[in-house]
């Protein structure tokens, strides 16, 4: 299992009702259902991923966050709302965060850090939009339209009164290195945030 999913699954308790935004081929939900006794839904728009989910017994709804939002989900109807590697691809990440914490009591968000040293270095040296393993696209065809840094995200959370329960920073191989812990915004490639509403 991908190390970031390994970290996330530890935060899911048996019986938890989980919503996975952009659930992909359903790997995580499948694992959570079978190994953690959780239930829930995944939202996805990729037809192949949707079919894979259905074939493995993951409840998946074809729903586009950008155009349809989460209006069809009741307040507080999930224990955890997940969004792995999709925050940077939605049109309004700020609104999605609000919606996540409306329908769920806790959110788990992962996204690539645009302030990672290699991206900074690449931009400085070449003067071109950086590309990396986590961000392998060209500027004109990238689905990642809302790139941000860890600091940006944390500033948004503060502004919205969202409390960060915990943060795990990993490198491109999703390893939790001590260097990334020391200078996360410079050396961390991907962060896993556990967030909730300030009470």
């Amino acid at each position: 299992m991908r190390p970031d999913l390994e970290i996330i699954q530890q935060w899911v308790q048996p019986g938890h009702h989980v919503l996975d935004l952009g659930c992909g081929d359903g790997t995580l939900l499948d694992f959570l259902q079978r190994e953690r006794g959780a239930s829930g839904f995944g939202l996805e728009i990729n037809p192949e991923h949707i079919t894979t989910c259905m074939g493995r017994g993951v409840a998946v709804i074809e729903q586009n966050l950008d155009t349809q939002g989460l209006g069809n989900f009741d307040d507080g109807s999930f224990d955890i709302v997940l969004m792995t590697q999709a925050l940077q691809a939605v049109r309004r990440p700020d609104k999605v965060l609000d919606e996540m914490l409306r329908v769920g009591s806790e959110g788990i968000v992962t996204f690539p850090n645009f302030a990672h040293w290699r991206l900074r270095w690449g931009l400085t040296l070449s003067g071109r939009m950086p590309e990396s393993e986590a961000l392998p696209y060209k500027w004109y065809n990238t689905p990642n339209i809302r790139l941000c840094t860890f600091k940006d995200f944390e500033a948004l959370c503060r502004q919205k009164g969202i409390r960060i329960k915990s943060r795990r920073v990993v490198d491109g191989q999703h390893q939790n290195s001590w260097l990334a812990r020391l200078w996360p915004n410079l050396l961390g490639e991907i962060a896993i945030y556990r967030i909730t509403r300030e009470t």
Partner: protein
């Protein structure tokens, strides 16, 4: 039938009639003392009877869903594209049951059957049947076949309504409900179209208040019109446009009112053929069953409350150009299932054929259907 039987066909099939002697109480308050159900089955029921799949038919459907009745048959059953060896409803793995519903006109007891009390066809005396009544009779058929729990109940359109109703009325007798191109209730526009169809039939001089059998006639014109208007709602503007456009049968306008456009003669042909093979009273009954279907009604219109009784898993599919039962209607159903914390998967399949798309195998539709049913089969060890 093609000269050689395709490898993915169930082959030559023979319908069977099951007679039921115990009276069945209907939603309308009446009772049918006894009745027949005509049934086709494909595949083999496994030892623990866990691999059975029920197919529920739509408005003009019947028991003949797959295969051929004889080598002379021009066309296979109505859902042959999805039922057979290696097809989504794989008859190498599942035991498939398909029946003609009560009130139908293809052999099961209906308005054109002889009323034992009078010795004459029931005609208008035949009770109005609801989706719930159908499900009840299908459960009795399951008892007869030794099926305690369906691996899946599957249907498109009105058939999907039966699958949904099954999950509410007999929650412990199905593992999965597959609801395709359906709706949790008809809209005013849907009912309006049905009303036009019914008016076409009942205003035909040959209708004789539903007793046309006694006069040795049929309201052919009315039935034809009913089918024509219905047929328009099964297609999309785009698919009609692609098929016919403004094409004329001859080169030029004739400045008259005969069928000059191809679409006109197509509709007339479809209507005529239908009126030769379908019973007008059954058409009235089926459209009424559609109108009345509304499982949320007793729950103050809240479908999620109705779904609290359910326990099966759902697959809901809609088609992008279906304007009879739009994707929005399916989403309404899905949202109620989500609110009721039922396990549901949903996809809107992009297909140009309107409501009829559920009968036409397109790659994405087939992929999804295959993947889901494969999982159902694995779950029951089939």
């Amino acid at each position: 039938m093609p000269d050689t039987l395709p490898a993915d066909s169930v082959g030559i099939v023979t319908p069977q009639t099951y007679h039921f002697d115990a009276p069945i109480d209907l939603a309308c308050g009446q009772t049918l003392e006894n009745y027949d159900l005509v049934v086709e089955t494909y595949g083999i029921l496994n030892a623990d009877a866990s691999n059975a799949v029920l197919i529920c038919h739509a408005l003009s459907g019947h028991h003949h869903a797959a295969g051929y009745h004889s080598a002379e048959d021009r066309k296979p059953g109505w859902w042959d594209s999805c039922i057979g060896p290696g097809k989504p409803i794989d008859t190498d793995r599942f035991f498939v049951v398909s029946l003609n519903n009560l009130g139908g006109c293809h052999g099961s007891t209906g308005p054109n059957s002889i009323n034992p009390e009078t010795g004459k066809p029931f005609g208008p005396e035949f009770p109005v049947i609801t989706v719930g009544d159908w499900v009840k009779s299908q459960a009795l058929l399951a008892d007869r076949l030794g099926i305690q729990c369906w691996a899946a109940v599957v249907g498109g359109s009105l058939g999907g309504m039966q699958a949904l109703q099954w999950s509410l009325d007999y929650p412990d007798r199905l593992r999965h409900a597959v609801v395709i191109a359906s709706t949790p209730r008809l809209t005013a526009q849907n009912i309006a179209f049905n009303e036009v169809a019914r008016q076409a039939i009942t205003s035909d001089r040959e209708f004789h208040e539903g007793r046309y059998y006694d006069f040795d006639t049929v309201p052919r014109r009315g039935l034809m019109l009913a089918r024509m208007v219905g047929h328009i709602t099964y297609l999309s503007d785009a698919s009609m446009g692609e098929k016919f456009g403004r094409e004329l049968r001859d080169q030029a306008y004739k400045f008259g009112y005969d069928a000059e456009f191809q679409v006109e003669s197509y509709l007339r042909y479809q209507g005529e053929r239908f009126s030769e093979s379908f019973d007008a009273n059954t058409y009235l009954l089926m459209t009424r069953a559609l109108d009345y279907f509304d499982p949320a009604y007793e729950f103050g219109g809240d479908l999620s409350k109705a779904l609290a009784a359910a326990s099966c898993e759902y697959l809901v599919l809609s088609f992008s150009t279906d304007w009879r039962f739009t994707p929005a209607r399916s989403e309404e159903m899905v949202n109620a299932m989500i609110a009721a914390r039922r396990k549901v998967s949903y996809a809107e399949v992009d297909a140009p054929w309107g409501h009829d798309a559920f009968l036409i195998p397109t790659p994405r539709y087939t992929d999804i259907f295959n993947a889901y049913m494969d999982r159902v089969a694995r779950e029951v060890g089939a």
